[in-house]
Structure formats: structure tokens, C-alpha cells
Amino acid sequence: MTKEIKVEKIKEGTVIDHISSGQALNVLRILGIAKDYPTTAVTVAMNVPSKKGGRKDIVKIEGRELKSDEVGKISLISPNATINIIRGGAVFRKKKVTLPERIEGVVRCSNPNCISNSEPVRTRFAVERKEPIKLRCFYCERVMVRSDITRQF
């Protein structure tokens, strides 16, 4: 028997649902929660049963609405996540993250010898696989996987 796990509702802020199981802490890292928002109340649920089958992680962030570039970052490590913006205790806006075909500027190339790490250029990657993610640098042609991405945050 699976039981819905009750996570306390938030009044204002963001609920990130359907995070790939085990990736909640990487989501927090990518959003810089611990570093940049030390007083934000955050609730994390990991490996909870999903109604869609399988398991998922959930992150609730009180008092903070995610910006679109932050949503873009989440898509890199959890391409099926949904973002719920909560206002006045209700879902104000709900959207799925979308992983574009090309990623620009969000992450650095993990190859230290890549020209994008020594010249003033905006990084560019082609998304060659979505889950688990595989990016190819437009410049050095090297491949980056999830661990190369999360390590940067």
C-alpha cells in the first residue's frame, strides 16, 4: 500500500514537483539555496511514491518564486519536474520545465582547456540526450553529464 506523504502546504512561494528521484539536493544546490538564501524555509521530500508511478522528489520553497533562468537550470538535472508558483495558498501558475535543444550561458564547460573558459564568450551546448542528461560543448565538442553539471553549483 502506498500512502500519500503529507508535506506541509506553503502559502507563498514555489513547489517543485516530480523531481527525478534523488535529485532534490542537486536542485537546491543549483538554485544556490543554502548559499544565497540562508533564511528561506525549504522543505524537501525524497523518494516519495508518485501518482504517475515510480518515485520522485519534491522541494517547497517558502516566500520565493523561481525565475525563468532558475527553471531552466532545473531542467538540466530533472527534465520532468513541474514548477508550481503558489500565491495565497493556492497554485497561481503551474508549468513543466522544458529542456531546450540548446543550452546557452547557464553552465560552464567542464573541460578546463576549453576556449570558452579563457575567452569572454557565452557557453553553448547541444542537448544530445535528456535523461540522464548529456550535453556537448559547441566549442570543444566534449561531453558533459549530470555530475559535471551539479559539481558547478
Partner: protein, 303 residues
Amino acid sequence: MGKTVFAGRDIISIRDLEKEEIEHILRKAEEMEKGPAPLLRGRTLGLLFFEPSTRTRLSFEVAMKKLGGEVIGFSDARLTSVAKGESLIDTIKTVESYADMIVIRHIREGAARLAAEVSEKPIINAGDGPNQHPTQTLLDLFTIKKALGRLDIKVTLVGDLKYGRTVHSLVYALAMFDATISLVSPKGLEMPSEVLEDLKAMGAAIETSNELDISDTQALYVTRIQKERFPDPEEYEKVKGTYKITLGTLEGARKDLIILHPLPRVDEVSPEIDGTPYARYFDQVANGVPVRMAVLGLVAGVL
């Protein structure tokens, strides 16, 4: 294939070229071999060697001059404003006002791609760190085609397949031409898994081994194993001996076997091979010229 397909185009990575386009370049190289014409008279090629490479620079220079063109540039970035901290972007912007085409070699991966993005003029990559060196791959293919008449053959690549720049783009191209690819390297210097993944996605026939068996191979491509790659010097000596190509190694080889090497070699191919019909590594050097003439002529839009 019309003139417009290559005119003004950058040649950065073998990944940018379709099979038919490679075939077209090889055909043009064959034409170039028959006799050069002053097709590029009045044009200037910029040679920007941020990382020195006499061999590649000379080859491009000869190719351009055989086509009646001029060359400008530098062969050592330490002597230029680059040494004073000028960015690659600024250097390219400066040189492109003097040159019709630019050949670039740089220690950093992706440098040629960036140059192509910045420059209005065609950029030809002559090596970006350990990444790509497309004209080397083209001349390797040209050499095999010339010697054996075809590219869908069994090729064995032996040596440092992890760091060896030339082998990554070569296997990619060979896979395009349905070659059977055998990869032989010491433990720890195997072909990177991402390259293998790419090859498998292309449907390439690949085998990997730590032991060299040349019995049915038609082209043996030897690369240098660098001492620095081994933490244990004893291990290096052992490996070096195992992969050294001597007359003894070639017992049981096919009569039409060809041996290739991107050069410079240290001692992975014994000089006793040099006088045999197997040795084709000096042909590779010679073949670099018509192949680069073809690339320059195509990019310039005159072929």
C-alpha cells in the same frame, strides 16, 4: 556538388562534414595532385599558429603557394601581441582584415570554432588542443584510398587512443565509410567511452583489445605513446615494447597491408619498416599538400 557548397565555409571538425562532402574533397585532392593551377593568385592565407607546428604550417604554406597565393601570419604566439595578453578574438579580427582565409592552430580546444564565429572569413582548423585536426583526417583517408582504392576496409589503430588527437576524428570518419575498426591500446589509454558511444550510435563495426593482432588488417594506424601518460616508468617500458612495430610484428600480415603514422614518431615504428612497401607514413606527409590545396580551393570557391 556545386561550387557554392564549400565556398566561404569553415572547416573546423570532421563532424561538420557529410560523407559525400568528404568524398568530394578527396576527389578534388586527386585533381590537385595531377598539376597545380594558379587558382588562388592574388589571395592571401593567414597562418595563425598559436601553438608551433612546423610540419602542418609548412604543408599549408606549400599548398597555398602551389595555388599561386600568398601567406602571412606567425608560427609562434610568444613573438606576437598574443604574448602581451591579446585575446584570440582580437587577433582574429585583426588578421581577417589582411587575409582571405585563415588557418588556425591553438592549444585550447574549441579555439577554431570560436574563431569561425568571430570571423567573416573562412577558418580552417589545423588542430585545437587534443580535439580536432580535420585536414589530418582527410589526408589519412586520402592516403588509404590512394593505396587500397577504398575506405570500407579493416583498420587497426594502435597506441594511445585516449589522448591521441588524430585517432578520434579518424575513427569517426572511418565509421562513416563503413570501415571495420579494431582499437588496440594499453590499459588506461583506451578510446574514451564517449567516442565509442558515438561510433556505436553510427552503427560502426568495432572491436577493442589490449593485444595487437594484425593478421587480417589492411591498414595499421600507429600513434605515439607518451611517457608522461604513465605514472610508472617500468610500465611504460613494458607497453612500449609490446606495441613497437618491427619486421617481426609483420610476419603473417597481409601483403597489401599499409602502415600509417601521423608523425613525428619516436620509436613505435622501427626504421627497418621504412624501406618496405608497408610504410606509407611519408606518403601521408606528401598527401597533405594536395588535400590542403583541395580544401583551400574549395573554401575559396575556385574549385
